[in-house]
């Protein structure tokens, strides 16, 4: 970043002796706009199409297949439709808050991209409080959602907003506590620092560092799903009870903001888990070419994140919605105590083996492979029992 600004000033693109702060500001604005337009928005769009296709296949359907090849351009059609719709502000709504709320939710989705570690050098700002910043800004969603629910002046919206607030505030705690084990082991909050403390091989990931981190990773994933209002924790917008929850009164572009942030947050969740537990962009050193190495690292990062995004779609197609009391029971009676145990357990572990226990990594990884094998065996059992034609081709 610094060298880029120096080079830009030296190239004379901004005239002689431009103020370096101004150049830095322009660079930051252009780069964040680029990340937003070129990465975040298309991702949020495409993931809606992928999600609908994945659900469809799980429910023995085909899914969107008319717009473009295999329906791939469905997200563009939906986006254009949403933007063309009338933007209605109800008479009884608190107009100013009502208009502001979607942008706050959107903000909570855009801000985490600043510390998104795509590769060893491709990161907008490697803050020394990276992961703390990430959890802080994603929690900003609750402000926007509660504001939307309140300003809509509609009972369904209000119930949705309040439920969302209760949910996000509750699940912040296990999510925050599940980050502690990693921080305890690395001694840093920087995203790049956490990734550099891990290796490219699975046995060097923090997921398999010790049993406590494995549990912490799972709790963090589920809590993040709850914070992003994903099924099975989608109470704030439970269609059968609350129409669309806090987004009931919204239409047009503002509604688009809500759904875009919702789907885009999947990437943010995947990125947090990947960074903390799955070794981030770590890739074996195969070439000395810096650009090629960075490309490989970006691919490694994206593969892990997209796998987690796929798993969240899979969970959404599998589990039914929980009740509000079950939601709170799961959080306060199970997730919170278990994450405290995780934290203390990791602290003890780090005290005993300050450099980590290499053998444990291999044992945990072997255990995970056994678990995966049992899972595949179960899947084959269900496939055989149904006597259905197996069809792996993603196109129809």
């Amino acid at each position: 970043m610094q060298t880029l600004i120096q080079n830009l000033i030296a190239s004379g693109l901004f005239g002689k002796n431009p103020p370096s702060e101004l150049v830095a500001a322009i660079v930051v604005f252009v780069m964040s706009a680029l990340v937003f337009v070129a990465v975040a928005l298309p991702f949020a769009g495409i993931v809606t199409w992928v999600e609908r296709r994945v659900w469809a296949r799980i429910q023995s359907r085909v899914g969107p297949n008319r717009v473009g090849p295999q329906g791939f351009l469905q997200w563009l059609a939906d986006g254009v439709k949403v933007v063309c719709k009338e933007d209605i502000v109800p008479d009884d709504a608190d107009a100013r808050l009502f208009k502001l709320a979607p942008y706050l939710v959107m903000l909570a989705f855009i801000l985490p991209w600043a510390v998104m570690p795509f590769s060893s050098s491709l990161i907008l700002a490697d803050m020394n409080v990276g992961i703390l910043y990430m959890t802080a800004v994603t929690a900003l969603t609750v402000v926007g959602v509660l504001m939307a629910g309140w300003a809509s002046n509609n009972k369904w919206s209000l119930i949705g907003g309040v439920r969302s607030a209760a949910q996000i505030v509750s699940y912040e705690i296990p999510a925050g506590l599940s980050i502690f084990p990693v921080v305890l082991m690395t001694g840093t909050l920087s995203m790049q620092g956490i990734i550099r403390a891990q290796g490219w091989a699975p046995q060097h990931w923090f997921l398999f560092a010790n049993p406590f981190t494995f549990v912490a990773a799972n709790i963090l994933y589920m809590s993040s799903l709850a914070e992003a209002n994903r099924t099975p924790f989608d109470l704030p917008e439970a269609e059968s009870e609350l129409v669309a929850g806090f987004a009931t009164e919204y239409s047009g572009w503002r509604y688009g903001c809500f759904s875009m942030a919702e789907w885009g947050n999947l990437f943010v969740i995947g990125a947090i888990i990947t960074t903390l537990f799955l070794g981030g962009w770590q890739f074996p050193h195969v070439t000395n070419n810096v650009v090629a190495m960075n490309v490989l690292e970006v691919i490694a990062f994206l593969v892990k994140v997209l796998f987690l995004v796929f798993v969240s779609m899979w969970i959404r197609a599998t589990l039914p919605r929980v009740r509000i009391d079950q939601l709170m029971t799961a959080c306060w009676k199970y997730f919170v105590p278990i994450s405290f145990v995780d934290m203390i357990g990791t602290a003890v572990w780090v005290t005993i083996w300050p450099e980590g226990n290499a053998a444990m990594g291999y044992i945990m990884f072997a255990g995970a492979i056994v678990l995966g094998a049992i899972f595949i065996q179960r899947v084959i059992y269900y496939l055989r029992r149904s006597r259905m034609e197996v069809y792996f081709n993603p196109t129809i």
Binding site: I58, S60, R61, V379
Partner: protein
Amino acid sequence: MIAVSEYVHNIKDTVSTIFEGMAVTASHFMRKPYTVQYPDRMPVRVQDTLPFRYRGILEVDLEICTGCLACERACPIDCIVIVADKDQQTRQLLLSQFDIDIAKCMYCGLCSEACPTGSIHHTTEFEGADYSLESLIRRFVQDPVMAYKAKKGPETDPRIAPILNRGMAYLDQWAQPGGEKPGGEEPA
């Protein structure tokens, strides 16, 4: 102690049931979709696969319409409009209007049950989408035509006979087993 074992048991239950559930959905993910790709990826038209008495869009065979207005009276929502007048010179019924508003029609089939000759009947056609309500009104009479008059004995006109046979076959389809034939007062 009981509370602790219950707690552990709950966690074990949750994890194992989610594990099984994910395996079930994963197996579904690998199956071939059931969905039939309507309308353009089928070997035959859907209309050709439907049964004879499928209640699609109504159609009228004017050649065998007796102008009895039974269908107009039977229609619960008045979507059929018929104008039938006696011609002063020939003393015969003259049909000058026979409109069915497909937009209003609810496909109940009461009109085709009331029809004595099977003139008004459902087709297997169901794709009725159009750009205006006006174009959904089917106008069967272009120029005024004579109403059909039943003859004693079988139909002799070679042009009308097959149409009448089809109409009566349609009526037979509606007949209840053991019950009276609907609209059966006129022999074929």
